[in-house]
Amino acid sequence: MYRIRLTLAIALFFASNATLNAQDLSAEVADLRQMLVEMKNDYENRIEELESRLDRAERSVVTASRDADDAVEIAEQAATDATAGASAPNIYNPAIGVVLVGRYANVDPGWEAVPGFIPGGELGPGSSGFSLGESELNMNANIDTHFFGNLTLALEDEAGETEVAAEEAWIQTTGLPNGLSLLAGRYFSGAGYLNKFHRHADDFGDRPLPYQAFFGGQYIPDGLQLRWIAPTPLFLEFGAEQNWGNSFPSTGRSRTSPDARTFFAKAGGDAGVSHSWQLGLSYVSADVVDRGGVDIGGPPAEVFTGDSDLVGLDFVWKWAPGGNSTVQNFKLQGEYFNRTEDGIFAGLPYGGDQNGWYLQGIWQFRQGWRTGFRHDEVDADNGSLFTDTILEDPGRSSERNSLMIEWSLSEYSLLRAQYIDDRVLDASDNQFLLQYIMSLGAHGVHEF
């Protein structure tokens, strides 16, 4: 249409040009110019209108597709939420796990104290026959954005009666920045390597001798623990504990004053994809009041009061081909402890020097099957003052060699057989253990 008008105007211009005289010409030109300007404006307006219409259409296409995307997402989210059972009242229940342990043992005659060591905590191979081990009930969950809580109850048969004990009851921060975390309550101390593990996660049915002699099986203090992880690619962790209470090796009678401190440092990393390792150094210092408490009739009783300082060195190295531990893997682990004690025993000045170590290798040779060997020993040097007491220097080290084989169908069930050549006492003793460890409920986590 515009084109026709334009041609018409131009044609008109030329036609009129021919017939009009010079005076009229300028007026005509002005008119035509005016007409052209108007037409141009009209033309531009229309183009603008069309452009904006196009723009609007384009925009609505974009919003439509975005709406469609959103709708799909909302529908998917709704489907996800529906399956998560979001309305169940117990959705916030903590993760609950139960561990059932039982064993059949042939450990007679056994022993209840390691020669040269003041007994404490859990010691010795236990009783023969079938017995329930420690059944455990564990609950844990995030408390809120800043805290995590954990409770482990242990059910144990103690002289025909079932005892319930709070094995662990602690809270931990998850909201502290810069690699810091603070833990409070009753917890497995960070000293040593094996100490942080639950017994049911051990590779053998009993703890190595240094753990039995120095920690009564496991060091589980009440107190505070601060850990800091360095911001380095190499794993570097430092920890300090201030502990109160009665747990062995500290036996403070007063719960109001701090009486045990632990410091530890750990370093670890990978060597290629197949190997990983960790090294640890720890120091446990404890004020001891009346440890032992074995009354032999007349005073002074066979008890120790003084300072106990323990230094530990631990390492673990793990191998799995290509880092895939599903079928085959190997673990080598060892710890060394040295303890010096200064104070009064049975009314006499006492300075003792004791050490112990163990080394064990565990090999998973096919999926579900593992076998392992362990050597453990402890040695006490208590001087010659204490003949006929529990601290009588045995003049030899107490040691054992253990061999085990275990089978687990899934990560929740485990059956184990173990043979121990026990030379803790003078006479050597052959011991056998059969054990089952089953966990139900929440999935446990795998500590390194």
Binding site: E76, P177, R227, K318, H446
Partner: protein, 300 residues
């Protein structure tokens, strides 16, 4: 003492090189972050293609990496239940805790398959939220890419434009690739396979493959001899084209079955493996399809 405190403070200050520290649980997400963030991310991957993501330990190097991370990307849906909670608890790093913007679980953004109506461990290691091996459907990758790019921009708003440009570039390449894979996949429709673990359910769903049995009688329980024998009986009248397994799964049961049924054993790449396999997500699907096509050729 003051000097010691100063040193400690210096050590505690984040080593800020400008790039985001990203901790990734599985290689497929590492590859996706590379596409979406490029130089803006320093990536640490917890597992390789040869490691079973179900079974890992919270080893020291991983604790050190999570401690430094600004963003943690995992599959979720309970795949990492055995080790990730411990890493999070040990890290001393609030930014990557659940509910924070530094915590990204890919499975939250896709529709899950095989959601069990009820769960009990007698059914094996079933995941209440459904099958977690979500990445073998490229449409899932596309959805997750979009969400991940949003998260990256949110965490590192200075480089927002970089993330949206990279997302656009990735999306257009991915869309084209997906179309060509789907075209190639048409002939695979109905291809009958046996898989070791239910690691390929999303692939099967996407390409309409027919997974007729699994070597694991129940998820996570190693294949037993009696189950394998029963599979022979079940499958020998009409043998499937192949047995498929992920590189981390034990090879022996698959070998045993394929030899007896005289069928092919396919070791599908399962995920990105830069040293010995697909170098990125594109190659992952290319190689997976190529392997399936080969098995399919023998079918006809």
């Amino acid at each position: 003492m003051n000097r010691l405190i100063a040193l400690l403070l210096l050590l505690m200050a984040p080593l800020n090189s400008g790039a985001l520290e990203v901790f990734v649980c599985e290689p497929e997400w590492a590859s996706l972050v590379k596409e979406l963030a490029g130089e803006n991310a320093n990536i640490t991957v917890a597992t390789t293609a040869l490691q079973d993501p179900h079974r890992l330990q919270a080893r020291p190097s991983l604790i050190a990496a999570t401690r430094r991370a600004d963003l943690l990307i995992c599959t979720g849906a309970n795949l990492e239940i055995g080790w990730l909670p411990l890493l999070l608890r040990r890290a001393g790093n609030p930014t990557i805790q659940p509910g924070r913007s530094g915590h990204f679980m890919a499975a939250n953004y896709v529709r899950k398959l095989e959601i069990p109506a009820s769960v009990d461990r007698s059914q094996g290691d079933v995941h209440p939220q459904g099958n977690p091996h979500i990445h073998l459907n490229p449409n899932n990758i596309a959805r997750i890419a979009k969400k991940l790019a949003q998260r990256l921009s949110q965490l590192d708003s200075v480089n927002q434009n970089n993330y949206s440009d990279r997302l656009q570039s990735f999306q257009s390449r991915w869309e084209t690739a997906t179309m060509s894979w789907e075209q190639r996949g048409e002939i695979l429709n109905g291809l009958r396979l046996v898989s070791h673990h239910r690691a390929f359910s999303y692939l099967a769903d996407w390409l309409d493959l027919d997974i007729v049995a699994t070597l694991e009688r129940k998820p996570g329980i190693p294949p037993s001899a009696s189950h394998l024998v029963s599979l022979i009986e079940l499958l020998s009248p009409n043998p499937p084209a192949a047995v498929v397994r992920a590189p981390y799964a034990n090879e022996k049961p698959s070998l045993w079955l394929t030899e007896r049924l005289d069928i092919r054993l396919l070791r599908l790449p399962y995920t990105v493996n830069e040293t010995d396999g697909p170098v990125d997500l594109f190659e992952l699907f290319d190689m997976t399809l190529a392997a399936l096509e080969e098995a399919n050729d023998e079918r006809r």
